[in-house]
C-alpha cells in the first residue's frame, strides 16, 4: 500500500467557471490520506457536488490541479480514471435492465475479468453489503427496497476494488433507520477494505458521524476544514456554527442514548 504520508488525492486551487462566467467553485485545496473519509458539506448550490464530479472528470476543472495517486488527472483518460474510482450517487443509479448480479459485475466485466472471477467477486461483494446471493442475485432493481438498492450501489462501486470511492448524497434518499444501518455498514466496509472516500452531504449530522475530516463549503469556497471535533470546538465562522447547531442537539441526544 502507499505510504500513509502520501495523499492519495490532492486538490490545489481547483476552480470551475461555467460558460457565461458563473464561478461555481474557486480556490479549493483538499488533501485525502489513504483510508481517510472526507465529507464535503454545505447548502445546496455551494459547489460541493461540482468538486466531487471534477475528481472523476464528470465535470472538467477550469483551474488548479487534481492529483490522484501521484498523477494529474488532466492527463489521464477519463474512462480509465473512473474505473479506478468507485462512484455512488444519489438515488442509486442502478441499471434497471440489469439484475443485481449484472449490476455488480459490470465493472469487473469491463475490466476484462474472466467469468469465474467476476462471479466470485459478485458473491464477495454481496456478502460484504449483506445481501443474500441466492435470494437477490437474479432480482431486478425495481424488486428491491430503497436500502437494498443502495447496498447494491455500494457493491457495484466497490467491485472494481477502487482505492477511492466518491459518494454524492448516497444516503439522503433513505429512511432514517435504513440510513443509520447503512452508514454503520459503510464505515465497517471502509475499515475492512481500506479505501479512501469523499462524500458529499448536505446533512451535517451525517458528516459528523461518518467523516474523519469535514470541509464546509459556501458560495464555491471552502470556509473551514478539520476533524469533526475541531469543527465543534472552534467553528471558524458564524455560518459554520449555524450549520452545527442542529446536529449539536442530535449529537447530545445520541450521546445520551449511548450513555
Amino acid at each position: 500500500m502507499a505510504d500513509p504520508a502520501t495523499p492519495i488525492l490532492e486538490l490545489q486551487a481547483v476552480a470551475k467557471t461555467y460558460a457565461g462566467g458563473v464561478e461555481a467553485v474557486r480556490g479549493v485545496d483538499l488533501s485525502l490520506a489513504p483510508g481517510e473519509l472526507l465529507a464535503l458539506t454545505g447548502e445546496s448550490g455551494c459547489g460541493k457536488t461540482t468538486v466531487l464530479k471534477m475528481i472523476n472528470r464528470l465535470e472538467q476543472a477550469s483551474g488548479g490541479s487534481i492529483v490522484f495517486r501521484g498523477r494529474d488527472i488532466a492527463g489521464v483518460d477519463p474512462v480509465q480514471l473512473r474505473r479506478q474510482i468507485g462512484w455512488v450517487m444519489q438515488g442509486d443509479g442502478l441499471f434497471p435492465h440489469f439484475t443485481v448480479r449484472e449490476n455488480i459485475a459490470i465493472l469487473p466485466k469491463l475490466l476484462g475479468w474472466d467469468p469465474a472471477r467476476c462471479e466470485l467477486r459478485v458473491r464477495e461483494m454481496m456478502k460484504l453489503v449483506q445481501l443474500d446471493v441466492e435470494e437477490f442475485g437474479e432480482r431486478y432493481p425495481h424488486a428491491l427496497s430503497g436500502g437494498q438498492r443502495q447496498r447494491v450501489g455500494f457493491a457495484r462501486a466497490l467491485a472494481g476494488n477502487p482505492g477511492l470511492v466518491l459518494m454524492d448524497e448516497a444516503f439522503s434518499a433513505l429512511d432514517p433507520i435504513t440510513r443509520d444501518a447503512l452508514q454503520q455498514d459503510f464505515k465497517r466496509l471502509q475499515a475492512e477494505l481500506g479505501f479512501s472516500a469523499v462524500m458529499v452531504t448536505h446533512d451535517m449530522a451525517e458528516a459528523l458521524i461518518m467523516a474523519d475530516r469535514i470541509a464546509v463549503m459556501r458560495n464555491g469556497e471552502i470556509v473551514q476544514q478539520g476533524t469533526p471535533a475541531e469543527l465543534l470546538r472552534a467553528p471558524a465562522q458564524d455560518y459554520v456554527a449555524q450549520l452545527l447547531e442542529t446536529p449539536r442537539r442530535q449529537m447530545r441526544a445520541i450521546a445520551e442514548l449511548d450513555a
Binding site: V79, L81, R82, M89, G93, F95, P96, I106, L110
Partner: protein
C-alpha cells in the same frame, strides 16, 4: 371454390411475394438509415430537431403522391425502384423519431451512473442506452411496419406488383371480392409482422433465448414462404389457365411457338377495358409460346413513360389521349389525320411503333339519363347551356384538367356547371341514381346502354377521337415475330364487341379472362 376466388388465389404467390419483398426491403433499408441517424442525432438537440422536421415533411406527403413522384425523380423508371424508394422514405420517420425520443428519454441518473462507473460512450450506448430505449424504438419499428405494409398496396400504379393489384383492379372492375381479398392479405401481413416484432422485442427484453429462436424462425419461415415464388418456377399454372380448367381453353390458330420463350411485358392502365385488352394480348402471345409479364394498373402517363423507356413492350392507348396529354396539342383534328400524325410523331420522337387501330373508339362523351335529357330537351351539349347553373358533372380526376372538358365547357357555354371528381367506377351509378346530372363517360362502357344513358351530341367536334391503338416500345418493335403475332388483332374489335366485353366485366361480374374468351370467339380468333 368459385372461379373468381380461384383466380385470386392463383395470383397470390406473385403478388404476395412482390408485396413482401418490397415492404421488407424498404423497412430493412429504412431501419439501416434511421437507426444510426437517430443514434447520432439524439444527443445533438439542434440536429435532432432538424432531421425530425425533414422526416415529418416527407411523412406529410400522401403515400400515393410520394410513390408517383418517385417515377419522374428516377428518370421515368417504373416498378420496384420507385416503389422501394418511396416506401423506404416512408419508413424513416417513425423509426427515427422513436430512436431519438427513446434515447433522449433514458433517465439522466442512469446515464450519469454509467459515465461515473467508467463506461466508454460506446459501452454506454450499447449496454445501457439502447437496451433502455429498445421498447420505444421497437414501437417505432412496429408503426413503420404497419404503415409500409399498408402503403405498399399503393405500389400498384407505379408498376410494382403488390397486394394492391387486387384492390386497384377490384375497384375498377367492381370485383369487391378482389378488393376484400387484397385488404385481408395486406392487413393480415401487417398484423403478423407487427406481432412477430413485438414477440422479438419481448424475447430480447426478457432475454428468453428460446422465444427469440422460435420467433426468429417463424419470421424467417413467413418471409421465405412469401418470397419463394419470386425465386423458383412454380409448377402451378398461370392464372388464366387455372380458370380454363373444365372449360375449353382458348387455343390459337397461328403457327405454334413463333415467340417460344420470349419475354414480353404488357402494360395496362387501371380500368376494365385495359385489363381485358391486356388479357387478350397475353392470351394471343402465350399461344405463340411467349413468356408474358403483366404490369397492370399503371397511371395513364406512367404507362407511356414505361413504353418509351422500354420498361414495358406493349400497351394499348387511345389517339386522343396521346394527342392531348403527350403531344400537348389543344385542338382536335379529323380522326384519320390524327391517327396518321400521331403515329409519325411517336416514331420520330420516341421510336414507338403504332401497330394499328384495334377497330373501336373509346372516347370521352358526356352522358346523362335519357329521362333527364328528355326533360331538359337536350340532344346536344349546347342544349345544356340554359341549365348550366343547375347541373353537376361527375368525372374521373383526370378529365377536368384535360382540354376535352375545358374546350367543351368553353365551346358550349357550360362555365356555370359544377364539377365533381370521383373514381370512374362510381360515376355511372352516380348518374343513374341522380347524384350527378352528367358524367364524362367512356363511350365503350357497357353501362351506357344498360343504365339507359344517352351520350349527348358534339356538333362542334370539340371532343377528340379516341381510337384504341396497339403501341410497341422501340425495342419491342425491333423484335421478330411480335408484330406478326399481334397483327390479327388490328381492326378486329368493333365498338359493339368492346362494349359487350366491358359489360360482361362491369355488370355481369365476369373476370377479364372470361370476357376475353367471349371476345376471342366473337372475333373468330379461337380455335376453329
Amino acid at each position: 371454390m368459385n372461379a373468381n376466388l380461384a383466380e385470386r388465389f392463383a395470383e397470390l404467390p406473385d403478388l404476395l411475394s412482390g408485396h413482401v419483398l418490397l415492404s421488407v426491403a424498404a423497412l430493412v433499408v429504412g431501419m439501416a438509415i434511421s437507426l444510426p441517424l437517430g443514434i447520432f442525432a439524439a444527443p445533438r438537440r439542434h440536429l435532432a430537431n432538424s432531421v425530425l422536421n425533414i422526416a415529418s415533411v416527407i411523412q406529410t406527403i400522401p403515400g400515393l403522391a410520394l410513390l408517383a413522384l418517385m417515377v419522374p425523380l428516377l428518370g421515368g423508371t417504373i416498378g420496384y425502384a420507385p416503389a422501394f424508394m418511396a416506401l423506404m422514405l416512408y419508413s424513416i420517420l417513425p423509426i427515427l423519431r422513436n430512436t431519438i425520443v427513446g434515447l433522449q428519454g433514458v433517465d439522466r441518473g442512469v446515464i450519469e451512473a454509467a459515465r461515473g462507473l467508467g463506461l466508454t460512450d460506446r459501452e454506454r450506448l450499447w449496454q445501457v442506452e439502447l437496451p433502455l430505449a429498445l421498447p420505444v424504438i421497437v414501437a417505432g419499428l412496429r408503426t413503420a411496419t404497419v404503415w409500409v405494409v399498408g402503403a405498399a398496396t399503393l405500389a400498384t400504379p407505379v408498376g410494382a406488383p403488390s397486394l394492391g393489384n387486387y384492390i386497384f383492379a377490384g375497384l375498377q372492375t367492381r370485383n369487391w371480392l378482389s378488393v376484400i381479398f387484397g385488404c385481408l392479405f395486406a392487413a393480415g401481413l401487417a398484423i403478423l409482422l407487427d406481432q412477430l416484432i413485438r414477440l422479438m422485442e419481448m424475447a430480447a427484453r426478457e432475454r428468453q433465448k428460446g422465444l427469440a429462436i422460435r420467433v426468429g424462425s417463424a419470421l424467417m419461415i413467413v418471409l421465405m414462404a412469401a418470397t419463394l415464388p419470386r425465386f423458383i418456377e412454380l409448377p402451378s399454372p398461370a392464372p388464366a389457365q387455372v380458370l380454363a380448367e373444365g372449360e375449353a381453353p382458348a387455343r390459337l390458330r397461328a403457327q405454334e411457338g413463333a415467340l417460344q420463350g420470349a419475354r414480353v411485358r404488357i402494360g395496362a392502365k387501371a380500368f376494365s377495358e385495359q385489363y381485358i385488352l391486356a388479357d387478350l394480348i397475353e392470351t394471343v402471345l402465350e399461344g405463340e409460346g411467349a413468356d408474358v409479364e403483366r404490369r397492370d394498373n399503371l397511371g395513364s402517363t406512367i404507362v407511356f413513360d414505361a413504353l418509351r423507356t422500354n420498361e414495358i413492350d406493349i400497351s394499348i392507348d387511345y389517339t386522343g389521349t396521346i394527342w392531348a396529354t403527350i403531344m400537348n396539342r389543344p385542338e382536335p383534328i379529323d380522326r384519320y389525320a390524327m391517327f396518321a400524325e400521331m403515329s409519325g410523331w411517336l416514331y420520330e420522337q420516341h421510336g414507338i411503333v403504332t401497330l394499328g387501330r384495334l377497330g373501336f373508339e373509346n372516347a370521352y362523351g358526356f352522358a346523362m339519363r335519357a329521362d333527364l335529357a328528355g326533360e331538359l330537351g337536350a340532344r346536344t351539349l349546347g342544349d345544356l347551356a340554359a341549365h348550366a347553373h343547375d347541373l353537376e358533372v361527375g368525372g374521373d380526376a383526370e378529365v377536368f384538367t384535360r382540354s376535352e372538358w375545358i374546350s367543351t365547357r368553353d365551346a358550349y357555354g357550360l362555365g356555370a356547371v359544377s364539377t365533381r371528381a370521383m373514381d370512374a367506377t362510381f360515376m355511372y351509378d352516380a348518374v343513374r341514381d341522380g347524384q350527378v346530372d352528367l358524367i364524362s363517360a367512356y363511350t365503350t362502357d357497357g353501362r351506357i346502354p344498360a343504365y339507359d344513358l344517352v351520350v349527348l351530341d358534339d356538333p362542334l367536334g370539340v371532343l377528340p377521337p379516341y381510337d384504341a391503338v396497339i403501341l410497341l416500345s422501340p425495342e419491342a418493335a425491333a423484335r421478330a415475330g411480335l408484330a406478326d403475332a399481334l397483327a390479327p388483332l388490328v381492326g378486329a374489335i368493333d365498338s359493339t364487341d368492346m362494349r359487350e366485353a366491358n359489360r360482361l366485366v362491369d355488370l355481369e361480374r365476369q373476370t377479364p379472362s372470361q370476357a376475353v374468351r367471349w371476345l376471342l370467339s366473337e372475333i373468330g380468333l379461337d380455335e376453329e
